[in-house]
Symmetry: C2
Subunit: 285 residues, 2 copies
């Protein structure tokens, strides 16, 4: 999916938030913001939003000389999600359809996102609310059938903490899973280390997409990851960044996400706040 | 109140919305947006947000060669608000305290704001909801006492359509009222023509603040308006733009507004969406 003009104010909003995470000096924040402002007129709208975001966050990190500003937040998110793990397991165990319940859990986990939300996310409260919310799109039958036939399953992760919710779903999938993480720190997205803190190495093989980009833009991913992607008989794409990167790609992809902005809502024909299990419109099933 | 770095993404959001109102050609929209983007690093944060907004909207109107892009929207807002007028009058008539009810009506009318909201505002539904909402700050006793003593009353209007809600309050005030409008078209703010369409010329003397600016920044207003301002024994300031312009000024000012962004919320120590009747913190009562 391309970048829209609507993304420009949002990129600056994100830049402001990221800069403030790194310094309390508003003069420095202003300088960082202005640097990003001057980048805006030249951004190629034909690129996907995660590609632009990767450039913006890299620039901010360079200026602030901080390679991984979200590290502490990521650890905290994982810790708090792990505390919710028993509740999630019980939610699945009590469900009539365990797989569907686990998909709901994994999708609801996408509420954790420090690229979008500035305030501390009250995940404990929001998880309970979101679990009550119906999917706006739920291509569950297609997913279930595809899963039955699948041999190689690729699960493309999104944020740290959300990883724990992903683990709940992977534990319900009775097949080998490859779990893909970012190739380096980018916003609060999960890296290998974050996935391991969530215990994902016990239930999946962890691989890197090969780039520090908040969405698996295939052209920027490693040849190894692209090979895994093209060989997979079922691909789960978590979160908005991966959806932005992959919505135009062919393949047996199922997107699980919370819709977090009006652009994504428009592209998917949905509303902000919706939770979605959506088969790739170009999928070959 | 000064401008905050948080206002920069918001200004661009507003610029995008304004540009799209004037053209469907995304290339033209992009050119307009980029022009505004390049203005951002040089905006003086010591200025009030309405001063910056006035420059931005003037620049957009210049580029698009459209002096009053919100004219049709303003007419429509006034028309729809006039259709609600009988309901508002009944709401006041049924109330235990007519004045307080009319203040609520006038404040709720501040939901009409095309600077903030992009979608068509469903005023018919939102008015009913907001009338049920309690004031987060309600300096009503101070207001009532001040009104009893007041001889000259200045009412600084905000948006077209909201004008009709203002009329309901002015009709409950048993004193002569001077109603101030913008000196020229700016966003959907009320000009003399808009105020007259709301019937305000029947219940008040209409004056201009003397500038096309979406908030009564005194330094930019006419000497005539400044004189009325300093002579007034009670000033009602409607909406966020006027509040941004006047919050640091001395005088017997009461702000009536819906809090529309996180910056205003922080300045007032309130939350977005709150409705407020707030005595000027520096007021001399």
């Amino acid at each position: 999916m391309r970048t829209y003009l609507d993304c420009i104010p949002c990129f600056l909003e994100q830049a402001l938030r990221a800069a403030r995470m790194m310094t309390n000096d508003e003069e420095k924040v202003k300088n960082i913001l202005n640097t990003i402002v001057y980048m805006m007129p030249d951004i190629p709208l034909s690129s996907t939003p995660p590609e632009i975001a990767a450039q913006i966050y890299a620039k901010i990190n360079d200026i602030a000389e901080n390679h991984d500003p979200y590290q502490a937040i990521k650890r905290e998110s994982t810790k708090r999600a792990l505390a919710l793990y028993p509740m999630m397991k019980e939610y699945v165990a009590m469900a009539n359809d365990r797989l569907l319940a686990a998909i709901k859990v994994a999708t609801v986990g996408n509420l954790i996102d420090y690229g979008v939300a500035s305030n501390e996310i009250k995940i404990e409260h929001e998880v309970a609310d979101l679990l009550e919310q119906d999917f706006s799109v739920c291509d569950y039958e297609a997913f279930r059938k595809r899963l039955e036939q699948a041999e190689t399953l690729l699960y493309i992760g999104d944020n740290a903490g959300e990883t724990v919710f992903d683990r709940v779903l992977i534990e319900e999938i009775q097949k080998p899973v490859i779990y893909a993480v970012r190739g380096g720190p980018i916003i609060n997205d999960a890296t290998r280390e974050d996935a391991m803190q969530a215990g994902l190495d016990d239930v999946a093989e962890i691989v890197s997409i090969g780039a520090a980009i908040p969405g698996a833009v295939l052209e920027m991913c490693s040849p190894e990851f692209r090979s895994i992607f093209s060989d997979a008989s079922l691909i789960i794409s978590k979160g908005q960044g991966n959806c932005e990167a992959l919505i135009d790609k062919k393949g047996p992809i199922f997107f699980m996400l919370k819709v977090k902005c009006r652009v994504m809502a428009k592209v998917l024909g949905l509303h902000e706040g919706d939770i979605v299990l959506k088969q790739n419109p170009d999928g070959y099933i």
